[in-house]
Amino acid sequence: MALVFFSYFALVSIVAGVLTVSMKHPVHCALALLALLLHVSGLFIMLNAEFLWAVQVIVYVGAILVLYLFVLMLLNLKTDERYFHAKTPYLLAPAVIGTVYLLVLMVRSPLSGVKGDVPATAILQQGDTYAVGIKMFSEYLLPFEIIGVFLTGAIVGAIVLAKTPKTLEGKRET
């Protein structure tokens, strides 16, 4: 059963990723990205990370993707005739070869390491949100605060960038 779900989520997310990169109209690309994000969130459920699933759906799909769609529709882009870069054929073959090499390395490597202190049974017992919250607000409190400062800076920066400069408007009137 787990194998069926994993193959479904994996296949659909790969197909959606390829469509995001290859489709012509930007809005279609954004919708393919939506499918990708939702199926990746399904993978998070399979990995006992239901809090991350909720964050993925709310923040990624609900906020970031809506922001992308909003800007796409605000700008009303016309699709170019030639929407790929001119040097695409030279990049495709190295990309495919590199991916296959990476896959062979990944599948063959043992991928083991030091075990942590929160086994899957504990997460199933307490709930993922509880486990993440305890860890986040004890051991990872400083990175959490830094992320808060970073987000504030990003918001201020976005507002400053997108504001219409006043000096230019004065010049336009004269």
Partner: protein, 100 residues
């Protein structure tokens, strides 16, 4: 039980797709979307390792990555709007304002 290498292989394929998208697309907004694909591939990797190595740290780092992605999307789209206002183009080949 899905082996860890399956998740790692999936995230490698997704990362390569995103990298290819950054390299070959000419629309700046779609380049940013390809960056989101790459960040998601990293997230899959982190959460899969956190599950298989019995540690919650991977999930916390994945949360931080989602926050960084939100900031990156806000700044990137603001830059697109500024450039679009001046040049009426989102083509990455024609963006050379900072070129000396």
């Amino acid at each position: 039980m899905i082996p860890l290498s399956a998740y790692v292989a999936l995230s490698a394929v997704l990362f390569a797709t995103g990298l290819l998208g950054v390299l070959i697309r000419r629309n700046f907004i779609i380049v940013l979307m390809a960056v989101e694909i790459m960040l998601n591939a990293a997230n899959i990797n982190l959460v899969a390792f956190s599950y298989h190595l019995d540690s919650i740290a991977g999930q916390i780092v994945a949360l931080f990555i989602i926050a960084i992605a939100a900031g990156e999307a806000a700044i990137g789209l603001a830059i697109i709007i500024v450039v679009f206002r001046g040049k009426i183009s989102t083509n990455v080949d024609e963006m050379n304002l900072l070129k000396w």
